[in-house]
């Protein structure tokens, strides 16, 4: 059984920690690896390595820095399938979903190669007679990322490429539930011959996070977690004077108007609610049919959900894999029980699903609740599983009222053929990511990944121009020569 190593200062190091956790394949419960909970000394060693690498790295011309990213892209393409299979094995998403994740990872590396243009400053001559003013962008130092389990390959690379391209150094602490793929990506990083300490990986859990948050040498933190953890990280990072951006939980509502083209609406709805077994912060969770579309939508949506093939994500024909862990499965099943207790009607029950040959896997079938009321737990709280709740609404105003009453504000979509309804939805809804006839509103690497209310803490988002602002400091220089 492999015990994963840390990558510190350009070399692989065994952790001296006595504590470790098992990493399990959620489709089979097989133990895939042991992940050490690294010691304070090991986290400190990573911070030291990153600090020591920083001065030399920031002086390295951006055009040279991006050559490493070009090489990394090539290596990621070469190992694409193997990495996708690793994601499926340890996280449980289907191979197609894992390939989608890999693609988005690579896209971020590609976008960051534009850093020589992206991090340019600006200037104006003669702000007063004979005096010029300019703004330059400079890197800040050591940054770190605390990613979630659901996109184990991609999320660290929403941030890392921009951070290092801009001249910072970086520490990745992979999710302790799914650390294997990041470990494999760092084997490719090792082939880049980056200066030691520019990119580091430290395995662990809360102890590592706390050390990173408290260290005066870490200047900034990016995280993607549940809302309670995001609040903790945000508060603690701010207390220690860091830059911080925390993407958090979600409860995403999808409105279907009476004029929606149901033939085109059902497939993206199914992908939105049940893709990645609902373990996506952009997953649809509550379906809001407006008026008379309720009956046909309910029937067709439930029928399509019932046809999904659930099973081993490494089987290419499988459309939905397991959830991440036994504990998480119990949590999701607990929500289904609560839905029933609170009076919702179960149209499709995924609780008793059995996958032949995978009896130990953490599978839950697609589940659909009808007659849900906004105050019910299944309509308010983040379930992070393949559970859809239907709330019939009279009109778009009522739908928006329900969306706004929820504390989260990550994503929301509308399906309609009316430009006017779409425009109103886009204009009024207080969410960071809005979909018009799109069920998964996943911003591309060159756009920021939004999120509002309890779905995001901070001001600068991940990806896009926000990433450049987050990983650089603007400096104003005013010059007069005699």
């Amino acid at each position: 059984m492999d015990r994963l190593k840390n990558y510190i200062g350009g070399e692989w190091r065994e952790s001296k920690s006595q504590e470790s956790l098992e990493v399990r394949n959620p489709a089979t419960e097989e133990v895939l690896a042991q992940v050490p909970l690294s010691t304070d000394e090991e986290v400190e060693a990573a911070i030291r390595a990153a600090c020591e690498a920083f001065p030399e790295w920031r002086e390295t011309p951006p055009t040279t820095r991006i050559q490493y990213l070009f090489r990394l892209k090539g290596l990621l393409e070469d190992h694409f399938e193997a990495l996708a299979r690793t994601i499926s094995s340890e996280e449980g998403k289907t191979l197609d979903e894992a390939r989608g994740e890999m693609r988005r990872l690579i896209e971020n590396v590609e976008v960051a190669t534009g850093i020589p243009s992206l991090m340019m400053g600006y200037s104006l001559e003669d702000i007063a007679r004979g005096i010029d003013e300019e703004v330059v962008r400079q890197p800040l130092g050591v940054f770190a990322v605390i990613p979630p389990f659901n996109f184990p390959a991609m999320v660290p690379w929403w941030f890392a490429p921009y951070a290092i391209a801009a001249g910072n150094t970086y520490i990745v602490k992979p999710s302790e539930q799914v650390p294997i793929v990041q470990n494999k990506i760092f084997q490719l990083v090792d082939e880049l011959d980056l200066p030691p300490g520019v990119l580091n990986l430290v395995n662990g859990a809360k102890g590592v996070v706390d050390h990173l948050l408290e260290s005066p040498d870490v200047v900034g933190i990016s995280s993607v977690t549940s809302t309670p953890v995001a609040r903790y990280i945000y508060r603690k990072a701010a207390e220690h004077g860091k830059r911080v951006q925390c993407q958090a939980g979600a409860k995403n509502f999808i409105v279907v108007m009476p004029d929606a083209d149901l033939d085109r609406t059902i497939p993206p709805l199914i992908t939105s609610f049940f893709g990645c077994a609902g373990e996506r912060c952009l997953s649809g969770s509550v379906l809001l049919p407006v008026g008379e579309v309720y009956e046909p939508l309910k029937e067709r949506f439930t029928a399509a959900a019932g046809k999904l093939k659930v099973g081993d994500p490494l089987d290419e024909t499988v459309q939905m894999g397991p959830v991440i862990s036994k504990k998480h499965k119990e949590r999701v099943l607990g929500y289904i029980d609560r839905g029933l207790q609170e009076g919702a009607r179960l149209l499709l029950d995924g609780r008793s699903i059995r996958v032949a040959g995978h009896e130990e896997g953490y599978f839950i079938g697609p589940t659909v609740f009808d007659r849900v009321r906004p105050e019910m737990a299944i309509a308010r709280e983040e379930i992070f599983g393949p559970v859809a709740s239907i709330i019939r609404v009279a009109d778009l105003d009522e739908a928006i009222e329900i969306i706004h009453a929820n504390p989260y504000g990550n994503a929301s979509s509308i399906f309609t053929t009316s430009g006017s309804a779409a425009r109103e939805f886009k204009y009024r809804v207080k969410c960071g990511n809005i979909g018009i006839n799109v069920g998964i509103v996943a911003p591309m690497a060159f756009f920021p990944f939004g999120g509002r209310k309890d779905s995001f803490f901070g001001d600068l988002h991940g990806q896009g121009r926000d990433a450049i602002d987050f990983f650089t400091e603007k400096k104003v220089v005013i010059t007069r020569w005699w």
Partner: protein, 145 residues
Amino acid sequence: MELTTFGALLRFGIELEGRAAELYRDWARAARGDKTKSVLEELARAAERHRQRLERERRENISEMLLEPVHEMRADGYRLELRPSAEGRDAELLELAQRAEEVLEQFYRDAAARLSVPEVARGLLKLAERHGSHRVELRKLEPTR
């Protein structure tokens, strides 16, 4: 087997091209005339190129936002179970090659109609066209006896 996902469709295409390449190579070895041999060898090389192209499509053109279940597409209708008779004359080999190209062409047309990623659907239609033109070229050939 039902082809229920983007990946299942492309993987089946990759396997189909691999199988075609294998058949063409076998038949090229069995062919008596130089022209038949070289035509079959070229078809084998084309199948290898198509296989690589499909792998690239699968890697580069996957989009989370457009990953939707695929319906009513089964692998059974597109099997390349073609065997020449013991005699295995060149004319027969070329005839079998035409049938293989027909299966491939049909597979790509049907698959393209079921995919929600336009770039990939367009790529599959291109492959269908290539197999169609191979079929036409094969029909025109006068086998070397």
